[in-house]
Amino acid sequence: MKKAAEKIDRRKFLKIMAGTSAYAALGPVRPAGAQPYRFGKLADTTRCIGCKRCMSACKRWNKLKVERDELVSDRETHLSAQNWVVVNFRADTMNRTRRTYQHWACQHCIQPACAGACPVKAITKLPHGYVVVNEKKCIGCRYCYQSCPFKVPQFDFEKRVTRKCTLCFDRILINYSKPACVAACPAGALSFGYKHEMILEAKKRLYKVKSAKHILGLKEAGGTDMLTILTAKPEDLGLVVAPPKVVNQNLDKLRITAAGFMSASALAGMMYLYRTLTGNNSR
């Protein structure tokens, strides 16, 4: 018995070697996009009851103003400098009877286009996943709004800076507590945790819940740290549709800048040609 355990024949040795190398190559099986210490927020619109407590909690924590009747009615609310999170009652254009509340906020892209557009680096992607605007640095040019695939950053006309959802990075890092909106949700429609756990959870719900049809944020704009379970495709719900690739990547910027240089040199070349052809002979 002992001998058999100690004895490693050729076949067993090859098996072990193949297994080890395969393990080394493939690694331990992990959910896609799993990164330790990367947080994510999950909004489940199939569970949302439209109480708008997330909006009021966000306003309370971030000291934002309440405008008119936005917290008590089903009137369409837009993101603004005072509204970092909105809940809107939307119908699926394919099936008008199917109506849900849509929780909409900054999607916290994995590669944010706004951070690449800001001339003074006022917008940064923090390592835990939050995309944050430094309001003391912002020059108020609104270029981030133009480059954002979800059209989220909004200009505050009083402070003259751009403001948006910070995913409550000031709560999490200091108090180890959830973002204000997640903590306030009474229906369990919002959850917050490690990104890979959130992805697993979202996929589980997509599989289990019948009305869940789409997870926003897995592919849109190259992936975002906020995931939303939708009951239909985003374009049918009237949401801003982002392309399924990283927007404003550096290589693409270089390509377009090269086109600019080429047209500038073509213009200079034409001027030279004009000079050579017409010369200095007076007409």
């Binding site: 640095k137 020059i139 549709v241 800048t257 500038a264 200079a268 007409r283």
Partner: protein, 450 residues
């Protein structure tokens, strides 16, 4: 003191009686500037929001006006370089006016964008402290100051002899001011207080400046230096406008702005604008002053009119290609339909196509053939108006999708926004008028020869 004021007031009143039109014009421009300042003051007192006709369209007329003025500046620099940098002698008479106008248009364009920023005072500080090399807007802040500086120096070098001449011919305070502008006697003063002679000798030993005619006291050094600085202005201007166009072309989330065609569009537009500005300003100046345009300038204007017609006829198929190409992309298609059939269609068909391109082609060709200067003037002004509206549509219409699906409250700029733009144009025209009046911009002042 009282006597002095009375004397000067009498002089001014006499002048007003003799040239009432000039003073009415200046008064109107000052009134426009006051209106612009009123809008600016209101924006400071209340909120920047008064400049926005929709919160979803954060870039409005001020940005489009900026793009228009900066494009004009680049175009003026390009056209002026034909004479100074590329050495086409028949283009030399327009160089001084061209560089002056390039300078004032870029300055007022920059004013337009600075007033649009929420915190303009932070932008130089944080651009220096935390630069973002991936942002076209940061590069814009880097490339424009050298452009403006080289334009200013180039114009000064071209105008210096004229300024010095005026200083010698006039008396009193006027002579002193012109002398100061020409920096007459500065060299002698600096040599008196600083040991510059040794430095100069050393520089001449190291660099063959004397042989190239670039030494400070050699004949025509001003002009040669102007040529070098003019080349720098052209290069930096082209660079800067490249960056300006890529600012829009990088914005992938705005489908109508995005793409490699935009820089081509921008440079074509800059060339059009430059030619139109030069012709319009030149002809208007001669007409208002009641002077006869010299024959060689007249010939040049007709030649430029033909080139403008040629460029316009290139622009037309280019627009057709840009629009047709975009129609097949779902993201761009909606915006393009806004221009072709939607609320922006009057701006597109009437202003951009008819007034901006098609009519001017015929008028320019007719005027150049029949030698009608008024026709050239009218067509140039039409091109400028069409191009201004084109830039407005380009900036505003692109922002409608994908956020606004149910229609905008208005497609016209807000009242305060219009006042501010009026103020900026008032300032631009005032600067131009004063420049024509007091600076040696006139062409036959001193025929430039290199």
């Amino acid at each position: 003191m009282k006597r002095l004021i009375k004397e000067n007031l009498d002089l001014l009143l006499n002048d007003m009686e003799r040239f009432p039109g000039y003073y009415v014009w200046i008064g109107t421009l000052i009134a426009l500037i006051v209106l612009g300042n009123y809008a600016l003051l209101m924006s400071l007192i209340y909120s920047l929001e008064i400049f926005e006709f929709s919160i979803k369209i954060p870039w409005g007329t001020m940005v489009s006006n900026y793009v228009f003025l900066v494009g004009s500046s680049t175009g003026l620099c390009i056209v002026s370089s034909l004479g100074l940098v590329f050495g086409l002698k028949r283009y030399e008479p327009i160089a001084k006016r061209g560089y002056f106008m390039a300078l004032i248009t870029i300055i007022f364009g920059m004013a337009s964008i600075m007033l649009h920023l929420g915190h303009p005072e932070r932008s130089p500080i944080y651009s220096a402290l935390t630069p973002n090399l991936r942002s076209a807007m940061w590069w814009m802040g880097i490339v424009y100051p050298p452009y403006i500086a080289s334009l200013a120096v180039c114009f000064w070098l071209l105008a210096r002899q004229g300024l010095a001449k005026t200083a010698r011919e006039s008396v009193g305070l006027q002579s002193k001011i012109y002398g100061l502008m020409a920096l007459e006697g500065l060299k002698a003063y600096l040599y008196r207080i600083l040991p510059l002679e040794r430095l100069e000798a050393k520089t001449y030993r190291l660099l063959p400046l004397e042989k190239m005619g670039l030494a400070l006291d050699s004949d025509g050094a001003d002009l040669r230096w102007a040529r070098i600085i003019g080349a720098l202005a052209l290069i930096s201007g082209l660079l800067a406008y490249t960056v300006e166009s890529t600012l829009f072309a990088h914005a992938e989330a705005r489908p109508f702005w995005y793409g490699a065609l935009i820089p081509v569009d921008f440079f074509l537009g800059a060339a059009l604008c430059g030619l139109a500005w030069i012709m319009a300003a030149g002809i208007i100046t001669y007409k208002v002053k009641g002077e006869v345009i010299p024959a060689r300038l007249r010939d040049l204007f007709y030649e430029m009119a033909q080139i403008l017609a040629l460029l316009l006829s290139v622009e037309l198929p280019f627009i057709a290609y840009k629009m047709g190409h975009g129609l097949f992309e779902p993201a761009k298609g909606k915006t393009i339909m806004l221009l072709l059939k939607g609320p922006f269609s009057p701006a597109f068909w009437v202003f951009e196509i008819a007034i901006g391109i098609v009519l001017p082609i015929f008028i320019l060709l007719y005027a150049a053939r029949q030698k009608k200067m008024t026709g050239v003037l009218v067509a140039s002004v039409m091109v400028l108006i069409g191009y201004f509206v084109k830039r407005y549509v380009f900036v505003v219409a692109s922002q409608v999708y994908p956020v606004i699906t149910k229609g905008l409250p208005s497609y016209l700029p807000a009242f305060m926004e219009v006042l501010l733009i009026i103020g900026i144009f008032g300032g631009l025209l005032l600067a131009f008028t004063l420049g024509e009046e007091y600076l040696p911009l006139k062409d036959e002042d001193k025929p430039v020869t290199l």
